[in-house]
Symmetry: C2
Subunit: 104 residues, 2 copies
């Protein structure tokens, strides 16, 4: 199992609509990817490690797929529609990472 993490840096002054992300964008991504995305999670950043420090990321999602190939097969045919939806909830550019799920 692999996990694709999409992490939005918590940049001062940036725009991020947590409700749209949770209720519209991520369900759309899952619907388009179908079984190529087994499940997904969404995090809302609350705080950093040091007392009073802000969260590094204002929001993150993690898409769980059987393989990198499954992710690509599910995501790439819809990349244009998915990317076109991003400005509706943020002006941030996310950091993307693919990880192996070592303990799931």
């Amino acid at each position: 199992m692999i996990k694709v993490s999409v992490m939005y840096p918590n940049t001062p002054g940036a725009r991020f609509d947590q409700e749209y992300y949770r209720d519209k964008h991520m369900p759309m991504v899952k619907a388009r990817m179908g079984d190529n995305c087994k499940s997904y999670t969404v995090d809302k950043g609350l705080a950093g490690g040091a007392p009073g420090a802000p969260a590094t990321y204002i929001a993150m999602c993690h898409l769980f797929c059987d393989s990198v190939e499954a992710f690509q097969a599910g995501f790439m045919p819809h990349v244009r529609e998915i990317m076109a939806d991003v400005p509706k909830y943020t002006d941030l550019t996310p950091v993307l990472q693919i990880s192996e799920v070592v303990v799931g």
Copy 2:
């Protein structure tokens, strides 16, 4: 539910023992925290978003707790022992973030 994410930057030349982290460190953290940590996951970084780009984080763990207070109640009494174990698997300083689990 909250998630405490501990993310180790993928710094060239740094040391990170994935096996020790998975088999020794993280089980020890869970054992010390007891029920204050409901579960945890471990990720091993494979790749970044752009073709050929390295992963931003070489490894991540995510600790799931009922609240920030539960995390602190489980972690703080053992912080000295847990931190003393870190040099056994890495010389990296992790980025720590607390998030609300919006979709779990």
